[in-house]
């Protein structure tokens, strides 16, 4: 079910952001990675705010 979640590119510098995302995890242990990702997700989820979009992303991320 396709809803409000954006499926096309929404970034001006996609490679930069992708690499920043990956690089932020460099040198972290598995546990630190999990903690980092959880904090990042909470920050972004609150910023997005649109609950329908968040729930849709949760469904899509489950593949």
């Amino acid at each position: 079910m396709e809803g409000q979640l954006r499926r096309t590119l929404n970034l001006a510098k996609p490679d930069d952001i992708y690499n920043a995302l990956v690089d932020a995890h460099k040198g972290l242990s598995d546990e630190e990675c999990r903690a980092f990702d959880a904090r990042l997700m909470l920050l972004l989820v609150n910023h997005i705010g649109d609950e329908a979009v968040i729930l849709e992303a949760l469904r899509e991320a489950a593949l």
């Binding site: 903690a35 959880a38 904090r39 920050l43």
Partner: protein, 521 residues
Amino acid sequence: MSSYEYRHYPYVRPAELDGPGPRRPVVIVGAGIAGPTLALLLSTRGVPALVLDDDDTVSLGSRSICQAKHSLETWDRFGIAARMVEKGITWEQGEVYLRDSAIYRFNLQAEPGHKFPAFVNLQQYYVEEYLYERCRAEPLIEMRHRNKVVGLAPHDDGVTLTVETPDGAYTLETEWLVACDGVRSPVRHMLDLPFPGEIFHDQFLIADIRLAGDMPKERRFWFYPPFHPTNSVLLHRQADDILRVDFQLGRDADPEEEKKPENIDRRLRLMFGPEARWEHEWSSVYTFTCRMMERFVHGRTIFAGDAAHVVSPFGARGGNAAVADADNLAWKLARVVKGESPPGLLDSYCEERQAASRENIRQSTRSTDFITPKFEASRVFRDATLSLARDFPFARALINSGRLSVPTTQAGSPLDTPDADSDWTGGPAPGRAMIDAPLGNNGWLVERIGPDFTLLSFGDVGEGSAGVAVLKVDCSGLPAARYDARPGTTYLIRPDRYVAARWRRYDLDAAQAALARATGR
């Protein structure tokens, strides 16, 4: 060990031991919180009740300590709430700590202008003592201590009970039986009814101690405090300089070891320092369950309080739900006993209180999952939330150390008349609890709601009252603001202080229709 002096209420040899007695309209099993509250509420509507309890004193241990505003408003009807406020500790603020620093404060009642505070902390034995005293002074109520229900036979039009006393057993006939006999409910077992739900394995240690000194009047919750670094701790103050400390122990703790006074003292010394001195009042190691019966009404037997549903302690929902059950049931049962409404009205008790119970279980399970995460990712998110909390206000709001009991919304109840006017921008909609407000020299709004339905009218009252009490209030100030009122706005309030219907302009036909609907006619 306890500084509370347990009174023993007299056992009186029941007349039924010497021959059959009269058939009773209502028998209540259990004098905990739900039973006596229900008996008192029934008496305000002229319905007599016989209360049977298996022992002769009040709650052993302080158990339910957080008495919520809505419960106090109910108890105020019998004039005992003022005593509770006076004896107990009023609190509205809570503070959450992470490790050694405070990260979040909340206020449960941000606005003034209510007769009762959000919470009064008072040990369950005091609550029961005041309830018992009031019951004993009420001619319509008969309390029988050391009367244990040991058998029952349901019939189409009533229940036959077998009751054991120190002088032997007797039988009793009643039209209606209300089982307020607690979480282990012998009545539920005798009827062989299931009690499905979820079991939680985390263990907690409650230590009630007497510690004189200047303790803050607020709820405090710690995640990973230095004095108990692996888990959480909850602190509440109670009457008589008693503190409740609730230590999360984890799943693998050995309850027998943890219960030993020297081990409790070791934990307390870490918390309060080597100088502090205390006396033990009561302690207990517990795990908990969330369960709910599939139906609360089985023929002529009705279940209320812990007998019908239990929740985890986070949020103070157990005892307060027991009071709300009694409040919801009393007026309906009274109407049915008096022939004013058909027995089908009682289905709405089940429906409304099951919805409330589901909400209580949902809320308390979420708190429990936050406090005691059940799997790794759950713990990771919990800790991520805590670590963001200091700098990000949104994360503070996610910290769930117990969402404290507020009246549940009974949205969608068949008794409610949905809003017909579309221009409401506030006020309690049908299915919501009414909101208190000051009435100047006339006291408080909650005090003015009688034992029957009330029409609350702002400004000019319409013609005809549909046979119920009318409470006329000036259309100004806080009452008008809290009810989104304009001149002519009228609310139909149920005896349990829930809104059944509301109109911008009073209309007798509409009021009569709403009243018929709300009373199951």
